[in-house]
Amino acid sequence: MQRNIKKLLPLKKASPWKRLFAFLIDLTIVNLIVLQPLESLTKKFLPSTENFINLYSSIASSNIAALSIIAFLTGILTFLYWAILDYKLQETPGGIIFHLKTKSLLNKNLKFSQSLTRNITKISLPLLAIDSIFILTTTNGQRLFEKLSNTITTE
């Protein structure tokens, strides 16, 4: 592990700000294109009202199962976007703009299992937020699941 990290030392650890903006660009792509077919379905299940109290009570009394399935599907598609692109290209469109790349600490090439593990928290934004807090605590700016998958994001 130490030898692997030393090999990567010439590569700059990715700046958290660049990672954040790259993430936002990718999230925009996911929301505008990939999740676009689910938009009409989501609208069907979100009541058309400007009153927050009515909105909350409508959601609370409505088809929770349907909303849960839509939320789960959204999470899975978001996760797959990052997992597949990280595995195939070691970068995403947002990463390309900010010159960010995903590297494996164990092997020359990134394995699919590593890509799945490092991106699993992208199923849910709150989970990703908790995962990202670890960037502040690690020396090489890794999220928790990046550490667990033995991968790193570099510039």
Partner: protein, 306 residues
């Protein structure tokens, strides 16, 4: 594969998965969440139990099974405050029309019937059960009667030496068969049935609309009326259009703004093919008919005569 191609491919594949999933989910979970909703349920075409036609290639009519189910769903949805029946139908089967009428009467929400081009016979029966009926000035409505006419082929068969072999157990089993003459006794029996159906029909409509004895006598003739005439006969409550019906619905439901929820009939891929073929066959027939009319057969007949 280049980087750009890979990115585009991944995005496209994920989009397709999202598209298929949304269609599947939409099929299984059709109910939209609304707060102050007004359900619009279409009753278009000839009314029958299944809304089916003779062949799979002719467009479907209004299915009482589907409409009763839609009314039930609207009643169970706490977000729906009123129901509008969007009627454009010449009527149809007796039992099917009655099923819908009963569902309308048992509805726990205000129901407004909007008669578009036509809302006659069975379709008017359904409208009469609503809390309010709105029609255009020129809509066709009324026709409170029963019809069972048919073409009798008995003489036609005689002319071409065809014979109807009557094999029945039960003297009246083949009553009103088009292949034999209707006997006077059979006519009287059949007419009694039609009169009974009309009696029930008129009775229900007159109760629904609080008709006077004079008005009942008038509509008993089975005449159809334009919207304006129907208003004078108390068969409709107001003249107007969809906007009028929506405003009435809001008034009866006591809501200020209402979101419209269209209860459209779900069409399968087969239904789309059927509707396409229906139009196609119609125009093919029309085209062939026009061709036959314009082709001058006289020269061939002259040659044959010589």
């Amino acid at each position: 594969m280049s980087r750009l191609k890979t990115i585009i491919l991944v995005i496209v594949i994920l989009w397709i998965i999202a598209f298929i999933a949304s269609k599947l989910l939409g099929t299984f979970i059709p109910e939209r969440i609304v707060t102050d909703g007004i359900a619009v349920i279409p009753i278009h075409g000839e009314i029958s139990i299944e809304g089916s036609s003779i062949t799979p290639f002719i467009a479907q009519g209004a299915s009482s099974t589907r409409i009763v189910e839609d009314i039930k769903k609207a009643n169970e949805n706490s977000g729906i405050k009123a129901i509008i029946l969007d009627i454009n139908s010449p009527g149809g089967a007796v039992v099917a029309s009655r099923e819908i009428t009963t569902a309308v009467k048992n509805s726990n929400k205000p129901v407004i019937a909007l008669i578009r081009e036509v809302g006659a016979s069975g379709a008017y029966w359904i409208a009469s059960a609503s809390d309010k009926v709105v029609a255009d000035e020129l809509s066709i409505t009324g026709s409170v009667g029963v019809i069972a006419s048919y073409i009798e082929f008995a003489k036609f068969f005689e002319r071409y030496d065809l014979k109807y072999q009557r094999l029945v157990a039960g003297e009246l089993k083949d009553i009103a068969s088009p292949f034999k003459e209707l006997t006077p006794q059979e006519r009287i029996l059949f007419q009694k049935k039609l009169d009974l159906i009309q009696e029930i029909f008129i009775d229900d409509v007159s109760k629904n609309r609080n008709l006077s004895p004079e008005q009942i006598t008038e509509i008993k003739r089975g005449n159809f009326y334009l919207g304006r005439e129907a208003l004078d006969l108390n068969l409709v409550d107001s003249l107007g259009n969809k906007e009028t019906a929506i405003n009435l619905a809001k008034e009866l439901a006591g809501i200020k703004d209402g979101s419209i929820v269209e209860y459209k009939e779900k069409k399968s891929i087969f239904d789309l093919f059927r509707d396409t073929f229906s139009s196609l066959f119609y125009y093919m027939g029309r085209g062939i008919g026009t061709e036959l009319k314009t082709v001058n057969l006289q020269p061939e007949l002259d040659i044959a005569a010589r």
